[in-house]
Symmetry: C2
Subunit: 336 residues, 2 copies
């Protein structure tokens, strides 16, 4: 069996309380016994059980990260930041891919609670706000990430989606484009991006050419292609000269479909994405995109979470961070 604190205490000729104290570096312990205990721990290859300490201390040192899919680069990148920040705080992460399925989410939430995680980061849209609501009732430290539930009094970190949509659109307008299309996915955040798009158009006196130039779909490469196929299939005069896709995957679908249709990007069609994932650098042409400030967002999320762990009654905060336009090679001036 693995050595326990009792084994260490016996071998060192002290009590378990003493061992516990040197372990946690608290209480007054003489240098001599400290050294002695350390030595014995070394010899026995003692590895204190965090499950036992969690039982008493009520801290597991693990936090749950709920995301739609860890295989999705945006969330994988976010997870990496979370992992690093968690580690700084001495914690680690349990990864939960929900596939945006509320049942899966509910199962994971329940599991995480039974595991007594110290807190939850929910970076996956949860359709049923009741799930979050229950978490809050149970006083489980929680922060919503990149997906807020406005009506709920909860912590959240988001990028300013509205502004993101607005600046993407303004940029395209500044390039001289007047026939714009938008492909967004069916999440709340994307509604704000859409609204930013529409308001930017209006502010510049431009109107949406055709209702079909604004479509919602779930965010996959394949769907990006499908929608683009329809949008670009129209006869020359009608087709948009620039498309704003509400995430990079959709945008890359557009890129691929444009090529299929014999259009050159950016000469014949400008495309801009959202999220600024590593994919934007890998596709061709490289993709202009609205960046979410992931590093900042994750850092602030972890900070909020930690505050919430330290004081579960702390006032909830909703923090929104500004997006940033990253220009690459998929956008250019509109032809006259």
């Amino acid at each position: 069996m693995k050595p326990t604190i009792y084994d260490v205490a016996r071998e060192a000729g002290v009590s378990i309380a003493t061992v516990s104290k040197v372990l946690n570096n608290n209480g007054r312990i003489s240098d001599k016994t400290r050294k002695k205990v350390h030595l014995i721990m070394e010899q026995l290859n003692y590895q204190p059980s965090m499950v036992a300490s969690a039982l008493t201390s009520q801290r597991t040192g693990t936090i749950g990260l709920m995301i739609p899919d860890i295989a999705n680069p945006f969330f994988a990148e976010a997870a990496r930041f979370f992992e690093d920040y968690a580690q700084q705080a001495g914690s680690d992460l349990i990864i939960c891919s929900t596939d945006r399925d509320d049942e899966k989410a509910a199962r994971y939430i329940s599991l995480l609670q039974r595991k007594r995680v110290d807190g939850l980061i929910i970076a996956s849209h949860v359709g049923n706000p009741e799930l979050i609501h229950r978490l809050l009732e149970n006083k489980v430290p929680t922060v919503l990430f990149s997906a807020d539930v406005r009506l709920l009094d909860c912590n959240s970190i988001t990028v300013d989606d509205y502004k993101g949509g607005y600046i993407a659109t303004e940029y395209l307008l500044a390039l001289g484009h007047r026939r714009l299309g938008i492909i967004s996915d069916n999440l709340p955040g994307s509604r704000y991006r859409e609204q930013g798009f529409l308001d930017a158009l209006e502010a510049h006196g431009v109107s949406l050419d055709h209702p079909d130039h604004m479509v919602q779909t779930s965010a996959t490469l394949e769907n990006g292609r499908k929608v683009a196929h329809r949008m670009l299939g129209e006869e020359g005069g009608q087709r948009p000269t620039a498309i704003f896709a509400c995430n990079d995957l959709l945008a890359i679908g557009v890129l691929q479909e444009a090529r299929e249709a014999g259009l050159n990007v950016p000469e014949d069609l400008s495309v801009i994405g959202f999220d600024n994932t590593m994919l934007a650098d890998i596709c061709h042409p490289s993709l202009s995109s609205i960046a979410q400030p992931l590093r900042d967002m994750t850092e602030q999320a972890m900070q909020l979470l930690n505050e919430s762990i330290d004081d579960p009654e702390a006032t909830k905060r909703k923090i929104s961070l500004p997006p940033e336009l990253v220009i690459r090679n998929s956008t250019s001036k509109a032809l006259e």
Copy 2:
């Protein structure tokens, strides 16, 4: 406070032993009390503490997944499979990105042991075999994934790297290429891919044109570009007409650099990658690649791990699975 098994027992008018039994669905319990207990659990919103049960049962229901970087698509995709298979077994995953840094790896290994995870999947090359060795000594259920340590008697799942290198090369030779280049990274697995490459060349009576056509570097996009820049910079007659990159990221670097150099892929240069990540579909032209059978590999890894958890003394096994050639648009016949 959260309700405990005592609260449930009291409200239901039974003992905690009984509650425990209905919880775990074992022992003989009358339907009546079972119902009653379930009802009370519902009413109290009872969430049994897995940390307490872990303390007695010696099972935490969590496994540690060590990878180089969760933000790397290959490992993110693998993690997703692991997560799904773990879930089927009622477990979840703690993600540990090591950045291939042995110190980080050591810290994580220690942490995971203190957390008393049920097992470890190590999908990150660990330079110091001593780390793994100690794990084995401690009888921690462990399986190495996509990275073996031959000399160690441990479980491992790998793709047949040698064969992967061989079939990639054979394929290029079959297309008529005679001046081949290879870019590999500096991991043990890649050594086998290289050997497959060399043996395939030899078997077909082709020799490596130039020592500079075989280079090792760490596997990043940037390094792929750098190496390609040198390889393709040579005067026409000397430059390879096909390059085998030992992973997709390197291959995509080659693609980008080829474009930079005014070369058309695949007309002027064929490129084949390894891993067949989602990136292969996203870059342009889409990338031919040697696929690791990730789904199979992860499934078998989880199975090995579970066996090892059930019987830590079980005989260790090393399983190697066949790679598969996936042809896309980055490879074509050599020009005459």
